[in-house]
Amino acid sequence: MTSRHKDGADYVLTAKGLTKVFGGIRAVDNVDLSVRRNTIHALIGPNGAGKTTCFNLLSKFLTPSSGTIKYEGQDVTALPPATIARQGMVRSFQISAVFASMSVLENVRLALQRRVHGPSFDFWRSVKCLHALEDEAVSLLEEVGLADFLHARAADLPYGRKRALEIATTLALDPQLLLLDEPLAGMGQEDIGRTSDLIKRVAQTRTVLMVEHNLSVVATLSDQITVLARGAVLAEGDYAAVSQNPAVVEAYIGEPHDTYD
């Protein structure tokens, strides 16, 4: 299942020559990206850099105009998003994607149901058979600090807790690779700290690829950073290397000061 490259590194996800054209505009232009196993890889860039498009390509919610995507050595370029999700590559969304009118517990249970019961159409069984999943759901929620909110409606959670719920729901699928779309966007300092810790803990046994707007918030979090600008890779490396790169500094000029620290 693993794919060893010539340099000996172990990559979970590799993209080659990824390109997406929207009516003549190259939103993502010939991007190469390799995500190493058990690392946190951040994809950052200023507004309009194409990071969300790139993310949607990698998570298969968009089809690339050209280029290939390999997950665990297998070409997944043509596979539908639900299929790669079942193979262990699960994404989250920028706008909190919780099931708003369901309880926190039910949100996680719905993900567990898919993993445990598979894609079954059991409309003749009672919903009570799902109660057996609730112990595991509770322990997942404890892991993200939501143990006190089990029966709250997801819609009533504060923003940061919603993100935590979303991560718990994603973790319920026991993914190998988590694709997180701006997991820290719009959070207060306290929530950022808590969610960063959570992502770090999650990444001890899994791989995380996250899109972020701000360079500073991923500074302590990520092992590897890829900076996109105008749809192309501008720089790549760890925080120290990337933040010193003159091209990166220039790309962020015009952005608020705190975006590049």
Partner: protein, 329 residues
């Protein structure tokens, strides 16, 4: 509801399970009331009228499964209702089948049509889905209009009810009523189970956030297709039963106004609720029956009721009732 006690605080568990119990209790009461109505109704109402009501209630429940729980507005459900009515009529009249087999055949025809139409329609959404289902239903309508099998403008008339299992004579309305009553109650319980099944949970998830369900690995299109087929099969159950009740399967059953009426019933009663479509069907059928003297003015009254409903209580009659009772119905 007891498995989770160890890991949650007692207060929360109590809260949650009492909430669950309370809703379940309300549902049981509602079932009791409906069952009581079904048993007592023929004492003070004309049995054929009650049978009509039960058939349409079943039809509206089937439709609601699609709209309220699948989130898809079909504008062609008359095809399943009417198509199945012709199927049951043909089976009973030409092949001489007993009612249980004729109705089972109607369910199969409904399901098969649902599978065929759904396979194509499910790929589109919103207004396009409504238009494609309407187009299919119009094709069925014109087939029924032209084909000798369906009797053209005359439809299939004097469809016999035959004997249940070839033994019990059901030619009297009083006797046939009980078969319809049993079919109706089984229909409600079936819908209730579908909604409260693991499958039903997936439907709720799709209704709330389809993209997220895809990212969790659910094959959303397949769930929609299965829902469409279940809904079509139940519509077939309603249509087939109706054909035997009235001894008639006609163009009215496959006409697009029938598709419109079932939308009306569902919205007035409360879409996405369990009992709403039953109430909605009751309101519409009762209006058609008791205001029959007004002639075509009935349509204007229906229209006004619909406008008032949509403007003042969008959750439908049952939605408002549920709010008062602080429960889910």
């Amino acid at each position: 509801m007891t498995q989770q006690t160890e890991s949650t605080t007692p207060a929360q568990t109590q809260n949650k399970s009492s909430g669950r119990n309370r809703t379940t209790r309300h549902h049981m009461i509602a079932f009791g009331l409906i069952a009581a109505f079904v048993v007592i109704a023929p004492q003070f109402l004309y049995p054929v009228f009650v049978m009509k009501l039960l058939c349409f209630a079943l039809f509206a429940m089937a439709f609601n499964l699609m709209l309220g729980f699948g989130g898809l507005l079909s504008f062609g459900h008359a095809a399943f209702f009417g198509g199945a009515a012709y199927a049951a009529g043909h089976a009973a009249k030409v092949w001489g089948w007993p009612p249980e087999l004729a109705i089972a055949f109607a369910v199969l025809v409904g399901a098969a049509m649902g599978a065929a139409f759904g396979f194509v329609a499910i790929k589109s959404r919103g207004i396009y889905f409504a238009m494609i289902t309407l187009a299919f239903a119009q094709m069925v309508y014109f087939y029924a209009l032209q084909s000798p099998v369906t009797g053209g403008e005359d439809g299939l008339q004097s469809i016999p009810r035959n004997s249940l299992f070839g033994l019990v004579d059901l030619s009297s309305d009083g006797a046939f009523y009980w078969l319809v009553a049993v079919i109706f109650m089984i229909g409600i319980l079936f819908v209730y189970r579908v909604i409260h099944s693991p499958f039903g949970e997936v439907l709720k998830g799709i209704r709330e956030n389809e993209q997220r369900m895809i990212s969790l690995g659910y094959q959303v299109q397949r769930y929609k297709l299965v829902t469409f087929i279940i809904s079509a099969a139940l519509s077939g159950l309603a249509g087939g039963t109706k054909a035997l009740v009235f001894h008639l399967a006609s163009l009215v059953d496959v006409h697009w106004t029938m598709s419109g009426e079932v939308v009306l019933m569902t919205l007035i009663g409360g879409m996405g609720t369990i009992f709403g479509p039953i109430i909605g069907a009751g309101v519409i059928v009762a209006m058609q029956n008791y205001l029959a003297d007004l002639g075509s003015l009935v349509l204007i009254v229906q229209g006004l009721v619909f406008i008032v409903c949509v403007l003042t209580f969008r959750e439908g009659i049952i939605g408002v009732l549920a709010k008062w009772l602080k429960t889910r119905l």
